[in-house]
Amino acid sequence: MAEPGKIDPMHQFEVQPIFDGFTLFGQQISFTNSALWMLIVLGLLYVFMMGGMKRELVPGRWQIMVEGVVGFVDNIIATSIGPNGKKYTPWVFTLFMFILFSNLLGMMPFGIIPGIHPFTVTSQFTVTGLLAAISFSIVLIVGFWKHKFHFFSLFIPHGTPVVMIPLIFMVELLSFLVRPFSLALRLFVAMIAGHILIKVFANFVIQAIDAGGASWLVALLSIVFIAFVSALELLVCAIQAYVFALLTSLYINDAENLH
């Protein structure tokens, strides 16, 4: 917990119950701030998508934005999976939009309104882990469903010398099994790193002002740095959403097309 006058940079990642819910499989399901912000993401995404549902022949700005995002995801699928990938578009779209909206919402300066504590859903390993696990499950199910045990040939690249096959197989299998963790950790780490950095420099600002004297210079420098990091983080928000969607579609491509 934060001491008075000091910012705990990790406090923002704490999941706090808003009201207690029920127990399911021995787990307490409470309505938490995390759940609240997930629902806000859902609401914003719904409002955003409704703006694209006017379906006019000559689109307005909002409709162009929505159509642009839809076309962007379609494009990811088309280039990484090909014509067979159409059935995975909904899942990749869900991933991309949920992550993008969560990331951006977490970066919005709602904290300046007293009583509102913004919460970045994607800075929770439970969230990114579940998303990655679903993506990885899709890869496994599709791979073994379509190719049966041929799917294991994914771990033996073309032209591998016979002697090397066992070793290469183990290496490839290991890198395959690491995929869901790297997928989940990449997003999770990218999100918390920026948020912690901003909080740490905000801490500097307060301490420098408290110290008085010429240290206002440090405060000013820290504020400039926060502005830069915030701009960078906005970029990271979009890139991480893109990377997650792109890697998911690339992994699905392995299962769908197998070499």
């Binding site: 990790m10 406090h11 990642f13 704490e14 999941v15 819910g21 399911l24 499989f25 787990q27 307490q28 399901i29 409470s30 309505f31 938490t32 995390s34 759940a35 997930m38 629902l39 993401v41 859902l42 995404l45 719904y46 998508m49 409704m50 694209g52 549902m53 379906r55 022949l57 689109p59 929505v66 159509e67 839809v70 076309g71 995801v73 379609d74 578009t89 909904p90 899942w91 779209f93 869900t94 939009m97 949920f98 859903v121 800075s123 929770q124 390993f125 439970t126 969230v127 579940l130 998303l131 679903i134 999770f188 918390i192």
Partner: protein
């Protein structure tokens, strides 16, 4: 790090709410709204392609019509020139024939007139001869008292002419 220290207490709730939200996004938005939006884009693209094709067709047709118009104008012009030439030739032939006919008629008339003139001249000469012979007879009779026969007088007059 609260993500790790809280992990065991919150993962149930996190999974629960995340699955609900993700499920709503997947079934409500990604499977329901996105295809409609994609369809709108495809329809628009199709419409644009169709319109462009229609415009291309219309332009081709217009060009075809213009070519047809050009050829028909050229044909008509050639026809007209031919007709004019033909008419000119016909008219020239007609004129020539008419001139020939007129020439022939004029020549005939001139010949007749000539013949008449000659006849009149001969007649006149004969009359003059007769008158001159009578006059010569009378003159001779008056001057010399000699009688000259009419036949002699005529001979003399003829010789004198």
């Amino acid at each position: 790090m609260p993500q790790i220290s809280q992990l065991l207490e919150v993962y149930g709730g996190q999974f629960f709410w995340l699955l609900i939200v993700i499920g709503i996004i997947y079934f409500g938005i990604a499977r329901n709204m996105v295809p409609k939006i994609s369809k709108t884009v495809d329809d628009r693209q199709k419409r644009i392609t169709d319109d462009l094709a229609a415009a291309q067709g219309a332009q081709d047709r217009a060009e075809q019509i213009e070519t047809n118009y050009r050829t028909s104008i050229n044909d008509a012009r050639a026809d007209a020139v031919g007709n004019v030439n033909e008419a000119k030739a016909k008219a020239a032939l007609k004129n020539e024939a008419a001139i020939k006919r007129a020439d022939a008629a004029i020549a005939k008339k001139a010949d007749e007139a000539d013949a008449e003139l000659k006849a009149a001249k001969t007649a006149a000469l004969k009359e003059i001869e007769a008158v001159a012979a009578e006059a010569a007879q009378a003159i001779v009779a008056t001057v010399s008292g000699a009688k000259v026969s009419a036949a002699d007088a005529k001979k003399a007059v003829k010789a004198a002419f």
